[in-house]
């Protein structure tokens, strides 16, 4: 089959690799009909997530059709059309039973690695996201093995198109969880979202669905800001305005009640803190660039929530802990508990409350993926979200 392969930092390629096979009786094989490139994949491309191995199959946002099931798979049959959350969860451990699917105890075969790095029992495995997270082959491919298939495959029985449900695998639940965990008081709370990438877009729209009185989105990429404005958000271009002043002005001097960091460890920024972050990150000292997180903490109103869907991987420097303490902020963060949100958010899509296709700017076949990884990373050509058809004819990138 064809698959997108991590070939080293800054190197992603299309290769022919063996088709996946069932490895355990609880596995299924899915023929992938649509897959997407995520902002999280850019951290892999750029080499910031440790323990990638040349030859790893990338991709954690995918859906398709079941073509084979292991004999212990109870709820699925060949031909079922499914979306598959990017986390792999066992469904029976204590975290899973509490709905904390990304904290699953049992699905990471390399648990010891995570324990060595993070000092805690490892969270669950992820598709196509480094050996630290289990080393599972990803879904930017024509076929993918889905372990724990009964837990990880959600059937789509309505006639919604792939593109309308594909983002249930990650970015829609991720944006939604980021907003939900703010505990927004409807009609009252103001929510600011740093980052107008796909996650920020869904976070802003989710904050509105959850009743935020006002939503402000911060980025520097004009077409991304325009997309947020189209949903009814106020926007701030942090390269044109002092973002902290602008956020105070926009909230009568209080600051936003809740702030979402939908940027993560590759934040762009300026000032001495940002310069130091960049220097240390370049030296691979395991330091993350945290401009967006700093701004989130500094801008947030007293008693507010800093909600962090943006990915961090190592250490941070100059975190304004004093400000966070003085204001009594609540921090919420982590990999999304995607399984929890698939069905409720599918209902919202079916009810016409949101059409997730708004975020798609580029469609192509797998063969165009290497080029589109870079287009997406460099924000060229107005690129905000790329959807790939693993069976499509090579050669054409479709815009819009």
């Amino acid at each position: 089959m064809k698959a997108i392969i991590w070939q080293g930092t800054n190197k992603v390629g299309v290769e022919r690799v063996p088709d996946p096979t069932l490895l355990l009786s609880t596995d299924a094989i899915v023929r992938v009909t649509s897959t997407a490139i995520c902002g999280s994949d850019l951290h892999l491309l750029d080499g910031y997530i440790p323990s990638m191995e040349k030859g790893d199959i990338l991709g954690h946002e995918f859906m398709g059709e079941i073509v084979e099931v292991g004999r212990d798979v109870k709820n699925l049959k060949v031909g079922d059309r499914v979306v598959v959350p990017f986390n792999i969860a066992c469904g029976v451990c204590d975290p899973c039973r509490r709905g904390l699917f990304s904290a699953c105890d049992n699905t990471n075969p390399n648990h010891r690695m995570a324990e060595a790095l993070y000092g805690a029992v490892s969270g669950g495995g992820l598709f196509g996201y480094s050996h630290l997270y289990g080393g599972y082959a990803g879904g930017q491919a024509q076929f993918v093995r889905v372990p724990f298939a009964d837990v990880g495959c959600f059937k789509i029985e309505s006639d919604l198109r792939d593109e309308q449900v594909l983002f249930l695998t990650d970015i829609f639940p991720t944006g939604y969880q980021a907003a939900e965990q703010c505990g927004i008081i409807p009609g009252r709370d103001v929510v600011a979202v740093f980052g107008a990438g796909p996650v920020g877009q869904f976070a802003a729209r989710s904050a509105m669905m959850l009743g935020a009185a006002h939503v402000i989105v911060i980025d520097r990429v004009p077409e991304r800001l325009n997309m947020a404005e189209a949903a009814g958000a106020q926007t701030i271009n942090y390269e044109k305005e002092d973002v902290l002043v602008a956020l105070r002005d926009a909230t009568g001097g209080r600051g936003p009640d809740h702030v979402i960091d939908a940027v993560g460890l590759e934040a762009h920024g300026h000032g001495p803190g940002a310069l130091m972050d960049t220097a240390k990150q370049k030296a691979r000292l395991n330091f993350d660039r945290i401009t967006a997180l700093r701004w989130a903490i500094l801008s947030c109103a007293k008693g507010g929530t800093v909600s962090v869907p943006g990915v961090y991987g190592g250490l941070v420097d100059k975190l304004p802990m004093g400000a966070a303490f003085a204001k009594g902020l609540t921090f919420r963060m982590g990999q999304t508990h995607t399984h929890r949100y698939v069905l409720p958010l599918l209902e919202r899509i079916e009810a016409g409350q949101i059409d997730p296709t708004f975020v798609i700017t580029h469609r192509a076949s797998l063969d165009e993926a290497p080029e589109l990884y870079k287009t997406f990373r460099d924000k060229h050509d107005g690129c905000i979200k790329v959807v790939l058809d693993p069976w499509g004819q090579p050669g054409q990138v479709q815009r819009g």
Binding site: L23, P50, E53, V92, H111, M113, A141
Partner: protein, 270 residues
Amino acid sequence: MGHVDFATPGAAMTAQPTTQPSTPKPYRDHSTESLLSPVERGVMGVLGLGALALSLRGGPVERLLLAAVGVGFTGMAATGTNPLATALKIRQNEEGDTLVSDAVTVGQPPERLYAIWRDLTNLPGLMKHLESVQVLDERRSRWTVKGPAGTAVSWDAELTADEPGRRIAWRSLPGAAIENSGEVLFRPAPGDRGTEIRVNLAYHAPGGTTGAVIARIAGQEPSQQLRDDLMRFKREQELGFAPTTKGQSSGRAEKDPGQAQQQTGQGGQK
């Protein structure tokens, strides 16, 4: 060396908090003291840099672990303390016995888990360094371990405590080549989460902590084995199999080196 006798006869075990090793002898935590001699510090420095250098090659799992180990050793060389000792859950008592312990929470009732451990013939399946355990009579059994380079060592052990649903303890009988003792404690986890299992092992390792740390790199180190053993047990009990990626598709030809570190899964049938 003397045994670390967890099972002090007559001790009222119910009074012991099971999260603490119930060893009567004090142990010191090497991570808090500057115990390394200048020679050891030199060795640590070389090992640290070596591990850091190695971490730049090899598969991803080795790389990450070695990098962590390298930083640890380099730190030891710099400070004269052993930051890994705590991380590796290795401690030593006054008599130079190495103590290894770890804990895991398993979503099954204590009685059921106790029964599995109480059948000593199950132990080789639970603790992978054991080759076999042969029950000789009510109290005595013969244990065999795989040593380095394919050698095997056997000794006789006796049960020193057996409290159904709560605790099992044993120790080697005089004459054992590797003098050792151990206990497994079971107690209900709060809030319907199953059972907290704690394993305490004591053995006389040459070279004390440093030897144990070096052994860990060689993959022979017991605390690492214990961690893997406990996680494998948890997953067998909760899932009935071990998660795996062994044999999955990738852009690497044939054998997938990235999977080399994984424990062998046992629920291998499709």
